[in-house]
Each structure stands twice: as structure tokens, then as C-alpha cells.
């Protein structure tokens, strides 16, 4: 069962990476003559995408990578203590590992204000890991605001799945 879960989470990470690699589709204005700026952007993105691909084996095995938040809440619930402990142990054990903590909100309200609210969630997870002894140099907390919902729909069931922070290893 645990192996199955692991496979599922690896598949999720791979699909996440695939969307990153596809960034050669980033293209610039039709009316432009040159696209040198665009090409350099694509290259750096590709290498970043590949780096993330190599990272799919990383992260504590069999441990949740997503932390859900209550409505209008930006603090990590006590029930996630064991999850965070496992991530902290993993990061302390290998100082070369880095984790990206991505905060998300539900769809209600403005893009930029939600970006700031998602940041509060990822910062809360980062602080929790810091308290557990993970050096700041191994963590980065960022936000996607409301831009990347995992559940579609405009009801509490969708909202509750979208209020989250995800730990992504590189």
C-alpha cells in the first residue's frame, strides 16, 4: 500500500515537472523580429525543469507532502506535527536537499491579495520546519495564490482542498 502511495506521489511530481519542461512553449510577441531574450529564458527554464526531474527521488518516503489549512487560517494545524517532523528529519539528515514550500488559497478574492495570503501559509510551514531545526538555507517559501487550484468548483469542498501548502523537493 505504501509503495502504491509512493508511486502515485512520484507520478504527481513527474507530471508537475513535465509542465515545467514544456516551457519551450514560452514564446514572444508575434510582431517581434528577434527572440533572443525568449530563447535564453527557455534554456534556463529547461535546465531548471531537468533539475526538478532528478529531484523526484527526493523527499521522505511515505509522508504527506501537502498540508491543508482551515478557512481564513494561516497556521499549521497540530495534526501535521508528525508530517513536519518527518520532513525536518529528512532535511536535517542531508544538508544538500532543498525544499520549495508552495502556498495556495481558494479562488475567492483578488489574485495579488491571495498571493500574499498563500505566502502566509508557506511561511507558516517554513517557520515550523525552522523550529524543528531545518536551516533556512534549505528552504524557500513561495506562493501561487489562487492560480493553481487542485480542485475545480465553487463550493466548500473544492475550497478546502485548495487551501494548502505543498512541499516540493529539488
Amino acid at each position: 500500500m505504501k509503495k502504491l502511495l509512493l508511486l502515485v506521489s512520484i507520478a504527481a511530481v513527474i507530471s508537475g515537472c513535465a509542465s515545467g519542461v514544456k516551457l519551450d512553449e514560452v514564446q514572444v510577441d508575434d510582431r517581434s523580429g528577434g527572440n533572443a531574450g525568449q530563447m535564453s529564458g527557455v534554456n534556463s527554464l529547461n535546465s531548471r525543469g531537468l533539475g526538478a526531474m532528478q529531484g523526484i527521488k527526493q523527499g521522505p518516503v511515505g509522508v504527506e507532502h501537502i498540508i491543508y489549512f482551515d478557512l481564513d487560517s494561516y497556521s499549521v494545524k497540530a495534526e501535521y506535527q508528525t508530517v513536519l517532523d518527518a520532513h525536518a528529519r529528512y532535511l536535517r539528515a542531508d544538508r544538500s536537499r532543498r525544499v520549495n514550500i508552495e502556498g495556495h488559497t481558494d479562488e475567492r478574492g483578488g489574485s495579488e491579495y491571495n498571493l500574499a495570503l498563500g505566502q502566509k501559509r508557506s511561511d507558516a510551514v517554513r517557520r515550523s520546519l525552522s523550529v524543528l531545526g531545518v536551516p533556512e538555507s534549505q528552504m524557500e517559501s513561495v506562493s501561487f495564490g489562487k492560480e493553481k487550484p487542485v480542485a475545480q468548483g465553487s463550493d466548500e469542498s473544492a475550497y478546502s482542498q485548495n487551501r494548502r501548502a505543498a512541499l516540493n523537493y529539488q
Binding site: 512553449e25 495579488e112 492560480e147
Partner: protein, 427 residues
């Protein structure tokens, strides 16, 4: 020059308000009566039936969207060289008449000519002509609408300006630069990751925006004519909410690099940012006042998001919004008189306009998911995002909310609009 039109408009208005022509390409919604609208007749341009663009229809749609004009069918065939039968036009209820012609030249370009008439006084108000390639016929039409608008209202028209917006279609995101009617959109960026917060530079040559293509929010500045772009803010954490200073030299941004979301100012070329706010909570969505001396922004320092104002170099902030517990996304009109923003009222997110001098506020929409308003460069219209029929759509509205139009555009959900400055020159 402008007064007779308004005087004559009043008497004719009530009877014919429901007779708005429907052949314009926009559904223009008119709510409320007693508006002062100039009734203007449009004679189809001679040669228009075989031209790739229906110039007179584009001009009419532009002028009606402004809320200050009402189209009247001329029902005559004439052109800019003929003196029109002004008494016939008056009988149709028109105060003004636009006539013209379009002809294809040997090199394939089009020669477009128009003349504007004051039919009340029987006076020729001037002519314009453009020689353009097919792809610029819409732009020439918007220029003609600007000409008519300025002649009859005394204000500059905004029809030849541009609007940037983002579409989401499936999992694809596109940043578009379009004409002010949403048409003629050109893709500036296509990405599988979200793009938000496009913001025009004061010169209209560049767009700042936030792209998530590297799995985090990073601020870019994109040269619209060359398509080249550069990273302006990619610091540890999130980088977002770019807003240009009026001189175009720097950007106010929201960075989380020091913990929390705080305001910084950074050179438009990049470099080391200077911190503007020091609060324990969220500070975001900065916008400069048109004179560059102040920054309006959103902060939850009082417990809920409200709009504040502070000196552009930082310092003490004064609260600007007092109603409700969720006021975000401020924009200031270029003339400095108006603040527009989104306020949550009973779970609905609604566009509001505040008269800054008096502090009077009005909600001007009946939709529930309004977002990200910005002003047209003449301060007379606002573009904003909302939801209509389950899709994300862009709307323009007059400041009193009486005239609204849904912008046409690409397929998918349309969002994150930003109205550009006066700038585009006809090639």
C-alpha cells in the same frame, strides 16, 4: 463648439434610447435614463461593402462604448467630398454626421477618408485621411473614433490605445496585447503556468508582469515591440504586484524575501530593491499617484485588507477605505480625481469608484466576481474582469456605471486586464 451638441442631445434622448442599433459588434448595456449622449449619424463609407473592415461600424461601436454617443442610422449614401443634406439628418435626430470613403490602391493599401459634420449648424468640422495596410484598418478606425470624440467632447479619445490581458484556456496561459475594444489581440507570451498582474509602462513600450513559469512568482519586464524581456525581481520567496512610477524609471513591487509580503521599489532595469514598508502583516498591490508623490496600496495592518496611502518614499500611511472588511486592487485615474477598487460586500466582490476629494463611494456593477480594475488614459472609462454566464470576461464601464460593454477577445477565460497609456502611433 461642443455645447450645441449636448444641448440638442437632451431633448431627443428619452424617445430614442431603446432604439440603439444592434449591428455594432459589442453588446453595449445602457442602464438609467437622462444621460447626455450626442446623437451621431454614420453613413457607411463609400466602398465599405467590399473592404475587409467595416470602418463605420467600428467607429460607431467605439463611440457608443464611451457612453457619450448614441448612433443614429444615416440611411444615405454619401462620402467626404459631398455636402450632406443636413436638414434630413436633423430630422433623423442626429446632431453630427460622419461620412467618408475607402478605396484600395494599386499597392494593395487602403486609402481611408472621413469628414465630420455639425448638422445642427451645417458646419464642416474637419476631415482625416489614412493610407494603411489591411492589418491597420482597425487601428485607422479607432483613430477616426478618437478624432470624432475629441472634436465633439473636447477630450482626448482612448480608442486607439491598447489593453493587456491574460487568457486561460485549459491549462494554457497567454498574455495578450489588444486594441481597446479587445480585438486585434497579439500574443506577447504563452506559458503552461499562470501569468498575472500585467502593468503598462508609462510610455506604453513595456509590460511588467508576474509569471510563474519557474514554479514561483517572478517579475518580468517585456518590451512589447521587440518581444525581448528581462527579469526585474527574482528574489528568494515571492515577487509580485509590479507597478510603474510615472517617470518609468522604477517599479513598486511586493517581495517576501525578508519575510511576509512587503512593498519595495526597484529600478526598472533590476538591481537592489529598497524597502518601503515595515509592517507585521501583508502590504501589497502598490500603485503610484499620477504625480508620483504617493503610493496607494493594500494592507491588513488593521486586521482586514484596506487601502492606504503613503509618501512614495515610504513613511506614515493613512487609511483611505473605511467601509467593509475587504477592499483591494486600487487604481487611480490619470487625472488624479478617482480611486477604483474591489470591495467585498456580503460575499460578492464588486467594483467601486471613490471621488477622492469628497470620499464619496459608489458600487457600479451588479456582478459578483469583479477583479482588477484600471482606468483608461482619459480617466473616463474603467476596464475590469468579472464573471458572466460562468466565464471570466472583461468589461468596460463609465465611471457612473451606466454604460457597460463586454470586450470581445480570445477564447477561454479572460482576466487580469490593464489599460495602456496614450501612445500607439499609426505606422
Amino acid at each position: 463648439m461642443t455645447r450645441p451638441f449636448f444641448r440638442f442631445a437632451l431633448g431627443l434622448l428619452t424617445a430614442s434610447l431603446l432604439a440603439l442599433p444592434t449591428w455594432a459588434q459589442f453588446r453595449v448595456e445602457v442602464s438609467g435614463v437622462g444621460l447626455t449622449q450626442v446623437p451621431i449619424a454614420f453613413a457607411p463609407l463609400r466602398g465599405e461593402e467590399t473592404s475587409p473592415q467595416k470602418i463605420s461600424a467600428i467607429v460607431q461601436a467605439d463611440l457608443e462604448r464611451s457612453g457619450q454617443f448614441r448612433g443614429v442610422t444615416a440611411g444615405v449614401v454619401t462620402d467626404e467630398t459631398q455636402r450632406p443634406d443636413v436638414s434630413a439628418m436633423r430630422q433623423k435626430g442626429a446632431d453630427a454626421l460622419l461620412t467618408g470613403s475607402i478605396s484600395r490602391m494599386n499597392d494593395g493599401r487602403y486609402d481611408v477618408r472621413v469628414r465630420l459634420w455639425d448638422v445642427v449648424r451645417g458646419q464642416d468640422l474637419g476631415a482625416m485621411s489614412y493610407t494603411v495596410v489591411t492589418g491597420d484598418l482597425r487601428l485607422a478606425s479607432h483613430r477616426i473614433a478618437d478624432f470624432v470624440y475629441e472634436k465633439l467632447t473636447g477630450d482626448k479619445g482612448v480608442f486607439s490605445t491598447r489593453i493587456a490581458y491574460v487568457t486561460k484556456a485549459g491549462s494554457r496561459f497567454n498574455l495578450w496585447v489588444a486594441d481597446s475594444d479587445g480585438e486585434n489581440a497579439q500574443s506577447a507570451l504563452a506559458s503552461p503556468e499562470p501569468i498575472i498582474s500585467p502593468s503598462w509602462s508609462p510610455s506604453g513600450g513595456q509590460l511588467a508582469y508576474v509569471s510563474f513559469e519557474s514554479r514561483k512568482p517572478v517579475v518580468y519586464v517585456h518590451d512589447v515591440s521587440t518581444g525581448k524581456r528581462r527579469v526585474v525581481a527574482n528574489f528568494r520567496g515571492s515577487n509580485s504586484a509590479p507597478s510603474w512610477s510615472p517617470d518609468g524609471r522604477s517599479l513598486a513591487v511586493t517581495l517576501s524575501r525578508d519575510g511576509g509580503s512587503q512593498l519595495f521599489v526597484i529600478d526598472a532595469q533590476g538591481g537592489e530593491p529598497r524597502r518601503l514598508t515595515q509592517s507585521a502583516g501583508i502590504d501589497t498591490e502598490p500603485v503610484f499617484s499620477p504625480d508620483g508623490t504617493a503610493i496607494y496600496f493594500v494592507s491588513d495592518r488593521g486586521g482586514a485588507p484596506q487601502i492606504y496611502r503613503m509618501p512614495a518614499s515610504g513613511g506614515p500611511a493613512n487609511r483611505v477605505t473605511f467601509n467593509g472588511t475587504y477592499n483591494i486592487s486600487p487604481a487611480i485615474s490619470p487625472d488624479g480625481r478617482w480611486l477604483t477598487y474591489i470591495s467585498r460586500i456580503g460575499g460578492a466582490f464588486k467594483l467601486h469608484v471613490m471621488d477622492i476629494a469628497s470620499g464619496n463611494v459608489a458600487a457600479i456593477t451588479d456582478t459578483h466576481r469583479d477583479e482588477r480594475p484600471s482606468f483608461a488614459p482619459n480617466s473616463r472609462l474603467i476596464v475590469y474582469a468579472t464573471q458572466q454566464d460562468g466565464r471570466e470576461a472583461l468589461m468596460t464601464t463609465t465611471l457612473d456605471g451606466r454604460i457597460k460593454a463586454r470586450l470581445s477577445g480570445q477564447g477561454g477565460d479572460l482576466r487580469e486586464p490593464n489599460w495602456g497609456p496614450f501612445s500607439k502611433v499609426l505606422p
